[in-house]
């Protein structure tokens, strides 16, 4: 059955996100436009105006209000979505924590963009990495096709475990680049998702409840512990949902991470999002020269799938971890730090270094990808290198 249900469309990343939202037909969308995610809200508001969705669209005056309105609607049992980028996500920061702690399955379509200053509207991961500890599940997609399907899966994941999910696409590179997206039919999406079964409904006057009470020293820790447990369980849920989705609709999406030519790899690169496409090309070039190199594309960053990475990297001698943001800690980027920590317990620990690249949308050509692979090869061969390198920056 699965083949007949798919429709091929030429869509940009933003269009793919907006189209998925139309098919999901959420009860409420509260959003504020921001480059490069503007089109998501713009296209979606047209669907609302044209009566193609039943969604209550709340046009707010800021992202802080957008997330606050999402939280309000979600506590009343609504299926809620929003979209944002960069400063917008940063402005939501305070309320992101409230959404996750109240266990609200809000789904956010996020387009990765650098944070000011200086003002920059292009891609890097500083925005979502800034929210990495907010208790949201984070899924980083390689392309528009994966973004479209991940957004639908995200609703299922969020509502199964009662945690919010952000699905990300690289700004401009994917949000504005057009590609073939294999979409499902609307009925199929709506049937797959069914109705949200909320944990509670603050508007149920028959059964009044209190949401967001004061916790102080005597219960806050217990509630956080509970939230941590939900994030642990989210790993099983993510695996179940994506595996089932693949089986149901005939796809082959990776769950936590994608292994590319890793079978007999002696050294490897770990990358996320769109840069993985360029990296795959670099891996192919090196493989043709007989180099045993592979790539792992990390897709789920929260919860952090350290067990999966340990398994992938247990036999490699050296790893280069790519970060499209820097934590300005003088210790490299956020992905590097977590990957390095995850591999600390391996019996034979691989040598590992960090490559910070592409900040503020700086181009990432194949030559840079090949440079990185060659540096990791040198690392494998025992050369002593700095543990962080900045690729593509002018000296």
């Amino acid at each position: 059955m699965s083949e007949t249900l798919k429709v091929k469309q030429a869509l940009t990343g933003n269009e793919a996100f907006a189209f998925a939202m139309k098919q999901i037909n959420p009860d409420v969308v509260a959003a504020y436009p921001i480059t490069p995610a503007t089109e998501i809200v713009q296209i979606f508001s047209k669907y609302v105006a044209d009566g193609e969705v039943d969604t209550e669209f709340v046009a707010v005056e800021s992202e802080h209000s957008a997330m606050s309105a999402c939280i309000g609607a979600a506590t009343a049992g609504a299926r809620v979505m929003t979209g944002t980028s960069s400063q917008g996500l940063a402005l939501m920061h305070e309320v992101l924590y409230i959404a996750s702690a109240l266990r609200l399955p809000i789904v956010l379509a996020e387009v990765n963009r650098a944070l000011s200053a200086p003002i920059n509207i292009h891609c890097d991961h500083s925005d979502t990495m800034g929210s990495r500890d907010s208790g949201w599940i984070q899924i980083y997609c390689e392309n528009a096709n994966e973004g479209y399907h991940s957004l639908i899966q995200a609703v299922k994941i969020a509502e199964t475990i009662n945690l919010p999910v952000m699905v990300t696409l690289d700004g401009f590179i994917i949000s504005h680049g057009m590609e073939v997206v294999e979409t499902l039919e609307t009925d199929v999406v709506r049937q797959y998702l069914g109705k949200r079964k909320p944990l509670y409904n603050v508007l149920d006057y028959e059964n009044p409840i209190m949401v967001g009470p004061l916790d102080l020293t005597d219960y806050y820790f217990e509630h956080k512990r509970q939230q941590i447990e939900a994030m642990k369980k989210a790993k099983d849920v993510i695996e179940e949902v994506i595996t089932d989705y693949n089986k149901r609709f005939g796809f082959d999406f990776p769950v936590f991470a994608e292994a590319y030519r890793m079978e007999d790899a002696e050294y490897a690169i770990l990358s996320m999002s769109s840069a993985a496409g360029t990296m795959k090309e670099a891996v192919d070039v090196m493989r043709e020269k007989g180099e045993k190199v592979g790539l792992v594309r990390l897709k789920v960053f929260r919860p952090f799938p350290y067990e999966v990475l340990q398994e992938f990297f247990k036999n490699v001698k050296a790893i280069g971890v790519m970060d499209r943001s820097d934590s300005v800690s003088t210790m490299g980027g956020p992905v590097f730090n977590e990957v390095r920590s995850a591999l600390y317990d391996l019996d034979t620990r691989p040598r590992i270094m960090n490559f910070v690249f592409g900040l503020g949308g700086r181009d990432f050509p194949l030559s840079d990808a090949l440079y990185i692979v060659n540096r990791v090869k040198e690392l494998k061969e025992g050369k002593t290198l700095d543990f962080v390198e900045y690729v593509g920056v002018r000296e």
Binding site: L102, V211, P213, D218, E222, H223, Q226, E229
Partner: protein, 99 residues
């Protein structure tokens, strides 16, 4: 009271039994207590109007509202009622609280 562990708490920290503030007796914060004299009281209701904790109890007597006492479960002993009670009446005075 034994406090609940993280496995026993409701998800999302919601409180299912409301209103909860009625069960949270805050009167023990008091160091001074108001004492009301029914014989002096003219039922002007100034104390009832000004009490920040809704601790002045009104009851209906023969279809008329009357002050009938002070709810010490919530009264925090701020003394506002004694202050606003008209000086010539002085139906409320403050005393040191002993628990």
């Amino acid at each position: 009271m034994k406090k609940k562990g993280w496995k026993e708490l409701p998800e999302g920290a919601i409180i299912e039994k409301v209103p909860t503030s009625q069960e949270f007796k805050t009167g023990s914060w008091r160091t001074q207590k108001p004492v009301w004299d029914p014989n002096k009281c003219t039922n002007c209701f100034l104390c009832w109007l000004y009490c920040p904790d809704s601790s002045i109890i009104l009851k209906e007597v023969n279809g008329e509202p009357k002050v009938s006492g002070i709810n010490y479960d919530y009264c925090k002993g701020c003394g506002i009622c004694a202050e606003v009670c008209p000086p010539k009446i002085k139906a409320i005075h403050m005393e040191k609280e002993e628990f």
